[in-house]
Symmetry: C2
Subunit: 492 residues, 2 copies
């Protein structure tokens, strides 16, 4: 039996009621206030019909109201299905329907999408702005939680092209928070700035750390490097979560030396160039480069303080509770410096996907990513899984984009790859083999707009007679990448 | 199913091999060296016959060799039965026999006791000093551990008078270490001075924290306040575990202001006077007063940094993963400020005693201690369980001493209480009703020496015609304490 713990937020409010919990624009709440307001919201959501164990969609931006609604879910014991708010209505509808969500919490920013979702699905829409217009019923509070209770669902695509709902338990989030502390320490004045989306694990994990550690969050509605630097001084921020593009922009504008209390940038969400890491080092911006994914509930491998210079470019070593293995095609563990698939296990690793069979093999999660460890056990990630494209910190799965393209009338086959881009790190492009058809590049791109979030739509379409495939019919993307590299005048 | 984690010491050595792990006199080991030496010891103990799941007695003092042998147990997966080295041979024999221990690891200091134990029990004795005279067999290393695997056994007595072996799992130790961190933080330079016995949970828990946190221990063979203060500066110690008598002695000799890097004294093992806590406050010695016991694998309730002044005298609030309830005789939860029995639950609480039925009620441990919480949830401990006497940080259970006394020929009944003592906090005294017998006070005291550790032997014996009892036959100790208080010329 997994462990039973007191409900995190209530417990935190009872242990350190007067500590500051969150700052958002001009609002500041202590843990006691945070709990009391979230409790009030839980009562209104209860009156709206939301109960323990319901799956509740969230289509929201970062703000204090979003945070309160998310904590309200934990008070009731309802599960939040966090939608990437850049998805198309079609993509959202698929996820809400797969999760069997009967409720959607959203805001006026997304009214248009919400109305369309209401037409397509049997779902009740709750607008954050209209909270106080609703009745209140005393909520049935979950005072204790089992660590294997489901807390959140976040969708991620894989090789199949169909998004899968990653089940993140309270235990997954707990162990992730504890693993971070055992690696990076926990200081009395720690203050974590969150300018990453709360619907991503990068953002949501900060909410969990806050109530587990008793630590202040400085929440931003979006990322603006100048505002980040301003709050770094004003709010005495000690930790900031960033993806590569954010770190680039911060490094670019940072002129003053960072204050002594600043502890680190937690860098995740994709590869960083050694050049960027070196520039940060020169400006004395401490960076903890990490490797993780939705399925590992945030970082699982992180470069430790003492190794950040000597092992620059490595993603580091596993967090204390986790384990790492590089395996070959037969699943056999490889020796140091041998390249293979990265597999991980640990209590922060999701036990599975919604409505899917268990995906772990003897407790190990096969990431699909390629890498090796050096003789000291440091991980080097060579290639993200499924030729994953990471564009501005968002994951784009080629298989998902290819499935949309080949579904279009007039297209026989399609292959998608990422190419380097100064602003976003990478952007997707597609190679398309048409049936007898007059389809143009622009028509195909336009057709994608209903089915794919903007960052997933190929920026260019190249027509080919056929897509290169290997003997077993798998697309050989490296040939396409090679072709792109050979186009001297090619730029995006 | 509870979680599976990598074996703590091996994992720590792999994550931060070059960090300093332990300092003892002139020896210093990094985590890599600590692991390699413990691994070597594991091989020698394997050749000696010790295997996974064996119960292995430890009759040792604090030194580096003891630490290495204790970690060697964890490498093999054998369970250490930690004997209080002040016990009599009879007491030790009872515990080793109850734990079915076939091996005893000891040292020449305890040769006399070991020889007697070998005569009484079927047990193989291993002397630490003779380590290298023994053969070596590659050990079968436990690379992973289930958090519910048993790690250590420590005996404690209760109302029955017979010591019971508290089963402490790896998970109990893990959650205790994590709970401490979430309360007190974890700093990169944390260094924990251990001058408490390793056979107590106060000492053993420091070994666990060291490998879980990656934190240096400064180990002392015994408590000497001047040596503690010397190392505080020399080794840049940030945390020290103390019992009340130790803190008194440190406070007494401390003349300089403590260095800024010093973080706190973790005070456990019994009540402290408000006078002492106030004196420490005046000298700016930060003290975290805590409440815990062998069954909770160290502290479970601790006074937080921000409350240490405002709530002086309180034991604080539960550690984050734990919960606290005050109940009445029927087991109903009481309101704040109502006095009742202290009950606790949490993943650091032992699941039970060796060879005994499960002692938890719905997961809650009934401590037998009496106290209340105030309106803010702070615990105040009024009376330790079973009229527990705490003498120099060691627990003395009246029932255990009474059982030895009434077993003596010529004694009909006996009652034991603790009385205040300047040096030890408390010492035990006894009230004895004789059968027709010529027994003298000195004879009774002498007779105790075979059966009771020195600190448990009554310092005075008073002869009475009968012991005061209530209607249900229970000894009314408060009447005896009242009688003692009325003796103006009484002192010990």
């Amino acid at each position: 039996m997994t462990e039973i713990l007191p409900n995190f937020l209530k417990n935190r409010a009872s242990l350190t009621p007067d500590r500051e919990a969150i700052v958002y624009k001009n609002e500041r709440l202590t843990f006691k206030e945070l709990y009391e307001r979230a409790y009030h919201y839980a009562g209104i959501l209860t009156a709206f019909g939301i109960k323990d164990k319901d799956y509740v969609g969230f289509l929201v931006k970062n703000d204090l109201e979003t945070v309160l609604h998310l904590y309200a879910m934990q008070i009731i014991g309802a599960k939040a299905v966090l939608l990437n708010n850049r998805l198309t209505v079609k993509e959202m509808a698929y996820q809400l329907s797969d999760a069997n969500a009967s409720y959607l919490i959203t805001e006026e920013n997304f009214q248009e999408q919400a109305i369309q979702l209401e037409e397509e699905l049997v779902i009740s829409i709750f607008y954050k702005e209209k909270l106080e217009d609703n009745p209140y019923i005393e909520p049935i509070e979950k005072r204790q939680l089992h660590l294997d209770d489901t807390c959140t669902i976040m969708y991620t695509s894989g090789t199949t092209g169909l998004p899968k709902g990653v089940i993140q338990s309270y235990g997954n989030h707990w162990w992730s928070a504890v693993g971070n502390t055992l690696n990076a320490g926990l200081y009395e004045k720690d203050t974590w700035l969150c300018a990453v989306p709360l619907f991503h694990i990068s953002g949501y994990s900060i909410l969990m750390r806050s109530i587990i550690y008793g630590m202040k969050i400085v929440l931003h509605d979006s990322f603006d490097e100048k505002k980040v630097l301003a709050d770094l001084w004003k709010e005495k921020v000690t930790i900031i979560s960033v993806v590569t593009t954010m770190l680039q922009r911060i490094e670019h504008v940072a002129s003053d030396r960072f204050p002594d209390y600043f502890r680190y940038m937690l860098l995740g969400g994709g590869p960083a160039t050694i050049d960027l890491l070196t520039r940060c080092m020169k400006k004395e911006i401490p960076v903890y480069y990490s490797y993780g994914m939705t399925e590992t509930s945030s970082q699982i491998v992180t470069l430790s303080p003492e190794d950040s210079i000597r092992k620059i470019g490595s993603a580091g070593k596993p967090l204390f509770p986790a384990q790492l293995k590089i395996v070959n095609h037969s699943g056999e563990t490889l020796e140091p410096n041998e390249v293979g698939e990265i597999t991980v296990c640990g209590p922060n690793v999701s036990k599975g996907y919604l409505n899917k069979d268990n995906h772990l093999k003897d407790g190990w999660f096969f990431t699909g990513d390629i890498g090796y460890t050096d003789s000291e056990g440091f991980l080097y990630v060579l290639d993200r899984r499924s030729d994953l494209i990471i564009s501005g910190g968002e994951n784009v799965y080629p298989a998902e984009v290819e499935a949309v393209l080949t579904d279009m009338e007039g297209i026989r086959e399609a292959a998608v790859i990422g190419i380097p881009n100064n602003k976003w790190g990478q952007v997707p492009i597609a190679f398309v083999a048409k049936e007898k058809s007059m389809l143009t590049e622009q028509q195909i791109i336009n057709n994608c707009e209903n089915s794919l979030a903007k960052y997933k739509i190929p920026k260019r379409i190249f027509f080919v007679t056929e897509v290169p495939r290997n003997a077993s019919g798998k697309i050989v993307r490296r040939e396409l990448r090679k072709w792109v590299e050979e186009q001297a005048d090619f730029s995006l």
